[in-house]
Symmetry: C2
Subunit: 198 residues, 2 copies
Amino acid sequence: MQVAILTFDGFNELDSFIASAILNRMRGRGWEVQITCPGASVTSMNGVTVLAQQQLEFANQADIVLFGSGIYTRDIAADDTILERLQLDPQRQVIGAQCSGTLLLAKLDLLQGLPACTDLTTKPWVIEAGVDVLDQPLVASGNVASAGGCLASSYLAAWMIAKTAGIDAAIAAIDYVAPTGEKQQQVDATLRVINPYL
Amino acid sequence: MQVAILTFDGFNELDSFIASAILNRMRGRGWEVQITCPGASVTSMNGVTVLAQQQLEFANQADIVLFGSGIYTRDIAADDTILERLQLDPQRQVIGAQCSGTLLLAKLDLLQGLPACTDLTTKPWVIEAGVDVLDQPLVASGNVASAGGCLASSYLAAWMIAKTAGIDAAIAAIDYVAPTGEKQQQVDATLRVINPYL
């Protein structure tokens, strides 16, 4: 399984790295999860520079594509030189967005009239793009999901694993990363959020 | 407030970046949170290369020091060329460790007989170092804390903020990053974990 974590300048570390690290729990089963960027490197909203593992076009062939979030997403959503490089297809790809990444889902017409989740800052822009925004951590329909609030990234990653490799694999991944002494309650919370969308 | 996130080759992205991103919620109040490394860059356990924002010696003057976790921590704990660069002081610094980072706390004699938290993989090595390991997400005594299970990083960051800037600042940071629709329950869970150690 090839997984593209779309990560842009100004990215929020929580939104790219919580999901990528949890999805990487599947490495032993052959998954390749890669930070995918418009250029050679990206610098986060907090000044952390990360080298790209793949360029944007990698996403077009990936099995799973996750849009991270960041402080410049509105600019990216208006930048055709970036958007034109993405040719995604929810029929053959599992696609998800975290927080402001939902704005890119909307802009690329991947929501197709469905309601979405996003963070409170991005909410007015997503509504402006004609999308209903839900007050919940995650929503999905078919192969497309969106999540809101940075720490909901773990739910989005779990949904992606459950959707493609089964619920037991998702439970194992969440159990591993959950706080010591709270593993069962973290698994239960995750199942409550993702089960309606499997 | 100067904050050093100690990050080594083989690091776990969850353990360095959840904490650093939450601590960075304090940027508006002058906090400077920086990925602090032994060299110019580090590459994660999943192949992600990050440029260092500071070198290890920065930690010695920082107000807050957080030991991240990773797959090579046992090697680092045996490498005096790295450990000798760290001269930390729990009297004037707030110090915390996540997962295998607890092994470095033990090795640097910063636990001083206290029990600690760590992840299940690291647990036998921490016990071997003579430390009692607790089955809970976080424990602290005075200025030194340890946390176990990657997602417990949010508790460790919240404890550090509460300890140095007050509980209201910690609540605001966690509220911001919590999943949409679950903000109050995330704040409540955090307070249950950190309040006994404030």
